[in-house]
């Protein structure tokens, strides 16, 4: 027993030593030419205190989600944090969208579009820094990007607009003229692999946050596989035409950006930006409070309220471009009552969106307003005279009057706790409501609206299921719901929502169809005059608001918290997919 006991202890100690020493180093990818250096090696050089980081012009940014890769043109890698960390400050596009949603020329010195062509001229001082080599950005990079995006074998996130381009002409090394298609082979338009005519949202075609790809550096690489853990060329060395270079990334830990000396814009005020992965929002908040990070860009949660009052921190909250809304299924297998506009209008009038927003975001985004335009989320296109949906703002009395005109058996006035349900055309006003499980906001939303609609005699049966695979994978595509709450990510240009409202559009789960709206959307898509284009979309929005095609709720706020000592960040809170790093070169202590 004595000998056996010490044998066991010795074996355990040996195991301890072996495992502990094996775990002491972070593994690097072996044999892969596209690996960047491990994050931990760069991380070790970064000063541990805010004062130290200030002295060495380094900033630590909390990163809320890890990335599956940095090729944001790839559907599997098209994520916000991939764009924020690895693309926006590293790979530039023809335009950049600022924090007010305005398009500004960036990599391009000029971009023009006519009904026949689309011409881009790259600025003369734009260079790729490829592992220290300085290579000019040329028109071949634009052509390469286009070819990759229209290749049917590539898993592109979106090639809307790019499939309108049929051919190109190179002029010199900096200018390319893309020619719009005048015809398409049979069957390709329906598949989405071809489209005819000019694409009015041409500014987004090669803009950030996807950017223009380096043709020379990526030669020979598979689109579906490159940039999975670096932004680098085919030799594994980092490449950039932006203010920073992605010098290392380790999955599960973070990444490092270092200033690019060949960048054509304002010299970066920081030498280095480190993104430290902290996925849990509560941990993010504690890290910010404790000075472990200098800035965070968290998902909106009530717990963030404690950062609003902490001294030494600047808290910024703006409206985003996400459209949280209710889809109303107006065809089978949805409830037939929803096919009546008066029922949809009554539902909208019975919902107090203001009180919901106050409950969800009152502490962290005071002043957030309901969405009242079905095509635009922020700015003058979405407010004032263009707030077409505002006429359906909370008015339960009007809702009851509408229902009374078509139904019987309901309450005579809005009554909390009411149990009398309207019967309309022999059918009870009872609807199945579906949304994603595990989402506190949507749970709150469902409860609040269930009560409010119950007060006017409409019964809501609330149901929750996992987003994946149930809600987005089967329920919505099968149109198996009456009412459903979820969100679409939009942008400053409304064309991103076209397929949501078009008759037969793949994501048009509610099966809304209005030929007049379709005509206006298509006209807007091809209208190069921005004023006429906006007018087309606003007219479409007005019709859809009248039809109550959806019930827009709100756009969740974008929140940016940073140390007040950091300068240049006051404009960084950008509601588009550009994210807060759109002006990272302006940041400095």
């Amino acid at each position: 027993m004595h000998r056996r006991f010490w044998l066991v202890v010795g074996a355990a100690a040996a195991l301890l030593v072996v495992v502990a020493s094996a775990s002491a180093t972070t593994q690097t990818k072996s044999g892969a030419t596209l690996a960047a250096a491990p994050f931990s090696q760069a991380w070790a050089q970064v000063p541990r205190t805010p004062a130290g980081r200030k002295a060495s012009t380094t900033l630590v940014f909390g990163m809320e989600q890890d990335v599956t890769g940095f090729n944001t043109n790839d559907a599997d890698e098209n994520a916000l944090w991939a764009s924020i960390t690895g693309i926006e400050p590293v790979i530039r596009g023809t335009y950049i969208i600022d924090n007010n949603g305005n398009y500004k020329l960036d990599l391009a010195s000029s971009v023009t579009a006519t009904k026949k062509d689309f011409t881009i001229t790259i600025r003369p001082d734009a260079y790729w820094n490829w592992g220290g080599k300085k290579i000019p950005v040329t028109n071949k990079d634009l052509v390469y990007t286009w070819q990759q995006e229209i290749n049917p074998n590539n898993n592109v996130a979106s090639n809307v607009g790019l499939v309108n381009i049929g051919s190109y002409t190179l002029k010199g090394t900096k200018t390319v003229i893309f020619h719009w298609r005048t015809s398409c082979p049979a069957g390709t338009v329906d598949k989405g692999t071809c489209a005819v005519g000019p694409f009015a949202d041409y500014r987004d075609l090669f803009a950030g946050p996807e950017g223009v790809m380096p043709s020379q550096a990526l030669a020979g690489l598979d689109f579906n596989k490159f940039w999975s853990d670096c932004v680098c060329g085919n030799d594994g060395k980092p490449i950039s035409d932006g203010p920073f270079m992605l010098t290392n990334y380790t999955r599960g830990q973070g990444l490092t950006l270092k200033a690019n000396p060949d960048w054509y814009g304002t010299k970066p005020g920081l030498k280095e930006i480190d993104f430290k992965l902290i996925t849990d929002t509560n941990s993010e908040i504690q890290a910010m409070r404790g000075g472990e990070v200098d800035a965070i860009y968290p998902s909106p949660q009530t717990a963030l309220a404690q950062l609003r009052s902490q001294s030494g921190l600047t808290y910024s909250s703006i409206t985003g471009f996400t459209q949280e809304h209710w889809d109303i299924n107006v065809q089978n297998p949805g409830n037939p009552l929803l096919r009546n506009a008066w029922m949809r209008q009554a539902i909208a009038l019975g919902m107090d969106r203001h009180s919901l927003i106050q409950a969800l975001y009152g502490q962290i985004a005071p002043g957030l307003q309901p969405l009242n335009n079905l095509e635009y989320e922020i700015g003058p296109n979405a407010t004032g005279a263009n707030a077409q949906f505002a006429k359906w703002s909370f008015a339960p009395g009007k809702a009851i009057a509408l229902l009374k005109a078509h139904c019987t058996g309901g309450p005579t006035k809005p009554t909390r706790g009411n149990t009398a349900i309207w019967t309309c055309n022999g059918q009870k006003a009872e609807f199945n409501f579906w949304t994603t499980a595990g989402n506190q906001r949507r749970q709150t939303s469902a409860l609040i609206f269930q009560q409010q609609l119950g007060a006017i005699g409409i019964k809501l049966d609330t149901n929750f299921e996992p987003a994946n695979p149930n809600f987005f994978g089967t329920r919505l595509p099968a149109h198996n719901f009456d009412l459903a709450e979820f969100a679409w990510s939009g942008g400053p240009d409304p064309s991103g929502f076209d397929t949501i409202y078009e008759c037969g559009g793949a994501p048009n789960y509610k099966q809304y169809c209005n030929k007049q709206v379709d005509a206006l959307i298509h006209a807007g898509d091809g209208e190069l005059d921005p004023t006429k284009r906006t007018a087309d979309y606003e007219q479409a929005a007005a019709i859809m608001a009248n039809d109550v095609a959806i019930i827009p709720l709100y756009s969740p706020p974008n929140i940016l918290v940073y140390k007040s000592q950091i300068k240049g960040m006051n404009d960084s809170n950008n509601p588009t997919l550009e994210g807060p790093t759109w002006n990272a070169e302006d940041w400095h202590w």
Partner: protein, 321 residues
Amino acid sequence: MLTFIVRRILYSIPVLAVSSFLSFFFVSSAGNPVALLRGNPRISQNTIHNIIVQTHLNRSIPVRYWYWLEDVFTHKLGNSLITFQPIWPDITRTLGHTAQVIIISESLALILGVAVGIFSAIKQYSFFDYAFTSISFTGFAIPVFWFALLLQILFVDIYLHWNVRIFYTSGLNSPGQGTWSLDRLQHIGLPVIVLMTASFALYSRYMRASMLDVINSDYVRTARAKGVPEWRVITRHVCRNALIPIVTVSALNFGALLGGAIITETVFQLDGIGFYFIQKLQASDLYAVMAYLMVTAVLIIVFNLVADILYGVLDPRIRYD
């Protein structure tokens, strides 16, 4: 003994095969990589079709299982269906980080748990015994996520009030320090405390019960009757025999924890295997999730075997054929 070990290993192979198929079936049913893509209104339908074909979503589950098996053996544990990158480097990296935290927390839990268990048994029904019994039950009852958050808030408040950094709240390393340093210990300190709490409760209760069982044995009474000093009775006769169940329980516990302290790793942002699993599950990265499940299954089987072997080694009364 050797026959026993070989037999156990051979029995494990069909167990692994069946569990791999069942895991594959349930994980495939629980996630669909295409579902989340449909949340993007601009997603190309051609891309959705490509992904369905590449990930074999248009095939039956047994066929897809076969594709996975093929990938496991041609590329160590396979390549991710989403990133197309090898899974093995991620598994070894994250397992190493988890092992580091688990080894420290289990070692501390064992040392403290055994010591407290011994003393509680010797001083049964004393204030010490009651106090540590209460602490143990609190340790069992306390929710891990809540305790973790509480510790984070506590140590951040300490830092804000007194400008003293005792522990960090997230990550494995902090800027300016190497991998093996006081800084690394400061980072993993809180997760170690969280994991240690439940394990300490378990070991102290086990040790106490085991000690009480042995301390009243005939041979212990004989030793006392022969005039052996009490400290020698406890250390040489009682403790050694009482430790046998603890060794086996700790081996099983170690194996289970190595599968990933998922909540702890997520809250403290440790790049461990539990956190890796959650990330891959949320992304519906089927092959990566399967790799995790297989690694965990192997660890559980191995540590079960270790526990059985240790039991046989430590207790001469136990012999395996």
